[in-house]
């Protein structure tokens, strides 16, 4: 008898789930045939462009769009801002113009007459003292830029510091970065009577239609949202933004489809950013290296709101019994924060685990041993322990670690290794699916979810095909429409668990119904039947083919609806742990850091697709290398401008900058049994701390602020020499 229980097969028993399955949409993506929002060119489409504020804080005192209306090819001009408005950051949208060609829209923008009266601004979230002293107003009233956003503590830190054997004090930081999605934010809007049809570059297909109602004046039931392919978002694309509203209004005014995508510079200025974080840390341990106390004061900015990294993640992962921290947010004239891959964790990890590594050095203990010794202060020692051992072997920690700055070789290039670890929740989102088995045996799965690059279509097809014992080509997956069953936004690594859970459950239920029909027709015991290799089996005996079995559902097919997963079903779970180690080579004469090797060992519960899962970890490592070494939103406090808001000067790593990347999944049966847990966020978290620790190991001093640019490396070396 085959037990009928919702859940995954025992480890090693699935045919497709867990395997290295190529993307079902790989060829259309690689050959440029996949149509993203940015590529929608329905007949008559107009191209819209934005005029934005060059000032961080200013009053708009003149705006005349009349001349622009007369420019050749311009079809509609929309003033988004009005005279008298107080502009509060650079990139603030002022005017949108739709024209027959993008060149004409640009001609139109040049014909807009405008004048700003600049007001005092403050844009440097790293400058605490400057923020306290800044003279900035809002609506003519003085604005206090700093505000307390969190305070917590337990135990007597003063006593613990006094009793400690080693005490380390340091200041650390990590600058603001932007999302820099390859496809900018934007939409293509077309009206059809009362219906507003929108191709939206969004990570939230099911949750965006309502956001058009008030600003555009449309009923939610008449808003159709589509997103077949998304050129990434990393957390920044969950809303309908003012430029999307402008696009819909321009479409209405012209009676034509309009596409409005942000320019690269505007995208970087206002398309989302990750808050900066700076911290003064005091941390202490006993003679054996057990961490006994943590004390920190941190500040930073997420733009206008004046908040900072979530207080709850400080200190990060390691929680000494005695600890206290205070957070101060700084309001800046910068566009607001949007969730960036593993919101707030990379920053908290960076200032916590670099400080711990400095304490280890002060205590004269090998960093790895120090981290291992203190795993009792974490919530996942049973995960981190084995992961650290695996990572140490893969990077040859024993062979490569040396006391700080004491590596072999007399040349200017110094090598070092570093370690850090992280955690992430990764619980499944709330997604619904419909699953239809047609009488020819083909299967359709439909959900209002989206593929942000993780491979949603592929994972869904894999789970359905595996459950029915059929080939991948038997399954058709449709997603990316708000007309499909509601699915949660792709935030916080919640999608793969969110969709594969209901697909597995619903496919199992459908299969059992079909097997019941087979049992009745062929008069065999229903609970002894299984489906695999395109056939239905009674033990090792073939009963019928899948196609024959499917005919039994009749011409209307079998259609089931699957609601969101709950963790008690055993299909999904939350909370994972991962560790990373870095080996770097630092040129002490030029300050240039080269990544030699990165090792990531990651737990993600049950892996659905090993090929795509590995890609997610590579992705985390590479984005981590970016914010560790070169990527920084540089705000110039004099002009109030984001001075490197372009891809020449906003430095991202290229193919030659990433070193040797090694990815290993930690998937013992105990973790496999927990089911699917989100994987995309965790591997981007501890890369910064691991690289910074490796650099400190190499050169003997801490370069305290990320990204570790050549100048910061040289400054740190100079500072150490006195």
């Amino acid at each position: 008898m085959v037990e009928r229980k919702i859940g995954w097969e025992p480890q090693g028993s699935h045919t497709l789930v867990g395997g290295e399955i190529q993307r079902v949409d790989g060829k259309v993506k690689a050959s440029g045939q996949a149509k993203y929002t940015n590529d929608i060119n329905t007949p008559g489409t107009l191209f819209a462009k934005l005029l934005t504020s060059p000032h961080a804080h200013a009053k708009l005192v003149l705006l005349n769009i009349e001349k622009a209306k007369g420019v050749k090819g311009v079809k509609s001009v929309l003033a988004i801002a009005k005279v008298g408005d107080e502009i509060q950051y650079e990139g603030w949208p002022i005017v949108a113009i739709a024209a027959e060609r993008p060149e004409f829209a640009e001609d139109g923008l040049r014909a807009v007459e405008f004048k700003f009266e600049p007001l005092p601004h403050f844009v440097d979230g790293s400058d605490f003292k400057g923020a306290v002293e800044a003279d900035v107003t809002v609506g003519g009233k003085p604005l206090k830029l700093t505000k307390s956003v969190g305070k917590s503590g337990q135990g007597d830190v003063e006593v613990a510091l006094k009793e400690a054997k080693h005490v380390h004090r340091g200041t650390y930081g990590i600058h603001m970065i932007t999302h820099m999605s390859m496809e900018p934010h934007g939409s293509h809007a077309a009206w059809d009577g009362e219906n507003l049809n929108v191709a939206l570059s969004t990570e939230n297909v099911s949750g965006t239609s309502g956001q058009y109602v008030q600003p555009v004046g449309v009923d939610a039931m008449n808003v159709n949202i589509r997103c077949d392919f998304l050129g990434s978002g990393f957390g920044s694309k969950s809303t309908v933004d003012e430029w999307d509203v402008a696009c819909a209004k321009l479409a209405k005014a012209t009676g034509k489809p309009v596409r409005l995508m942000l320019s690269r510079t505007t995208e970087m200025q206002i398309g989302g950013n990750r808050p900066s974080a700076f911290a003064e840390v005091t941390v202490a341990c006993d003679a054996e290296g057990n961490v006994t106390a943590w004390d920190s004061r941190h500040w930073g900015s997420n733009g206008l709101q004046g908040s900072i990294v979530d207080h709850d993640v400080t200190p990060y992962v390691f929680l000494p019994k005695t600890r206290q921290s205070v957070s101060t947010g700084i309001a800046t004239n910068c566009s607001p924060e949007r969730p960036w891959r593993a919101p707030h964790h990379p920053q908290a990890c960076a200032y916590t685990q670099t400080a711990l590594d400095d304490l280890a050095a002060k205590a004269g203990i090998d960093s790895l041993q120090f981290f291992q010794k203190n795993l009792n202060l974490t919530s996942l020692p049973h995960i981190y322990g084995p992961e650290l051992e695996i990572a140490a072997k893969l990077i040859d920690w024993k062979g490569k670690w040396h006391p700080r700055g004491k590596g072999s070789g007399n040349g200017p290039v110094k090598r070092g290794v570093g370690v850090a670890l992280h955690t992430w929740d990764g619980a499944a989102n709330q997604s619904n699916v419909t699953l239809k088995v047609h009488s020819d045996g083909s299967v359709e799965v439909v959900t209002g979810s989206q593929d942000v690059g993780t491979g949603t279509r592929t994972c869904i097809a894999q789970v359905a095909a595996d459950t029915f014992g059929v080939s991948m080509s038997t399954i058709k997956v449709s997603l990316g429409s708000n007309q499909f069953p509601k699915a949660g936004p792709s935030e916080g690594s919640s999608t793969i668990g969110g969709v594969t859970g209901p697909v597995r459950r619903t496919a199992q239920q459908a299969l059992w119904k079909i097997l019941d029909l087979v049992a009745a027709k062929y008069t065999v015991e229903r609970t002894t039947l299984t489906a695999r290799d395109g056939k239905v089996w009674l033990g090792e005996k073939e009963v019928c083919t899948w196609k024959q079995a499917a005919t039994l559902v009749g011409p209307m097919g079998l259609e089931l609806y699957g609601g969101p997963v709950t963790e008690d079903e055993g299909l999904t779970n939350h909370q994972v742990g991962g560790v990373q180690m870095a080996e770097v080579a630092v040129d002490t004469e030029t300050g240039v850091i080269r990544i030699v090797k990165m090792v990531a060992v990651q737990d993600a519960g049950m892996i659905v697709n090993r090929l795509l899962a590995r890609s997610q970890v590579y992705s985390g490592l590479i984005m981590g290398i970016a914010y560790s070494l070169s990527e920084e939103r540089i705000m110039d406090n004099k002009t109030g401008r984001f001075i490197n808001a372009n891809l020449n000067d906003y430095k991202l790593p290229r193919i030659g900058d990433i070193g040797d990347l090694v990815v290993e999944f930690y998937e013992p049966e105990s973790e496999y049994k927990r089911g699917v847990i989100g994987l995309s966020e965790p591997p981007v978290i501890s890369t910064g701390a691991a690289i910074s620790n490796a650099v400190a190991n190499a050169v003997g001093v801490r370069v305290p602020v990320l990204p570790l640019t050549p100048k910061r490396v040289l400054d740190a070396l100079k500072g150490a020499k006195g």
């Binding site: 790989g26 690689a30 940015n38 820099m180 390859m182 690269r264 990347l661």
Partner: protein, 207 residues
């Protein structure tokens, strides 16, 4: 050195040939050619100044001649995307930095945003779309799928064309040569590891 070896950017093909040889009424002004090296006679000021009005030109794209009417200022990337609906070449950086719009022009990888549409009259333009159909899939596309050198997929066609062009010119290239050659493209998701493996594979097949 990298540039020589890779031949990614530069006057490998000649806009001068277009100006001299094309029978079209379109002749670009001296200003448009002054920065380009070439034979002395070709550097003589052009006799006709091109008008800013739209011109009808014939482009050879993916083996097919296509007529389109564009102003001389229209970039090849915009002509491909907006006039021919070949949106595989992506507009990402607005400043010839990221390689997402890479196409082949007479076999060589070129950023489509660095050429005016009128400049490539008489040349053969190949875009990513031509590398996959129901009948045939190019080795590069197959290799990108095999190594999952794809995430969101937005930069991928540009990378695919860069790899195709490089492997055409450098069959049997080493992994190191691939790494140096593909520095002209940016990915944000992080597909570099897969791209490198795919490029190496393709280079060996191209041998």
């Amino acid at each position: 050195m990298e540039r020589d070896e890779v031949n990614r950017v530069g006057a490998g093909f000649s806009r001068r040939e277009f100006l001299k040889g094309s029978g079209a009424a379109v002749v670009a002004g001296a200003a448009a050619t002054s920065a380009v090296e070439g034979p002395l006679e070709a550097q003589q000021p052009a006799t006709k100044i091109i008008s800013a009005e739209p011109h009808t030109i014939k482009l050879n794209v993916n083996g097919k001649d296509q007529n389109l009417t564009v102003e001389p200022r229209v970039l090849l990337i915009d002509a491909l995307r907006n006039d021919l609906n070949l949106t595989g070449c992506k507009d990402v950086c607005d400043r010839s930095t990221c390689g997402a719009c890479t196409v082949l022009i007479d076999g060589k990888p070129v950023y489509a945003c660095t050429r005016f549409a009128i400049e490539v009259v008489g040349q053969k333009v190949v875009t990513a779309e031509s590398l996959h159909s129901l009948e045939k899939t190019d080795d590069v596309v197959t290799a990108f799928c095999k190594y999952d050198a794809i995430q969101c997929g937005f930069c991928t066609p540009g990378f695919v064309m860069a790899v195709r062009g490089f492997c055409n010119q450098n069959p049997g290239a080493t992994e190191d040569a691939c790494r140096r050659a593909l520095g002209g493209n940016i990915c944000r998701c992080g597909i570099y590891d897969g791209v490198l493996k795919a490029a190496y594979d393709t280079a060996q097949i191209a041998q």
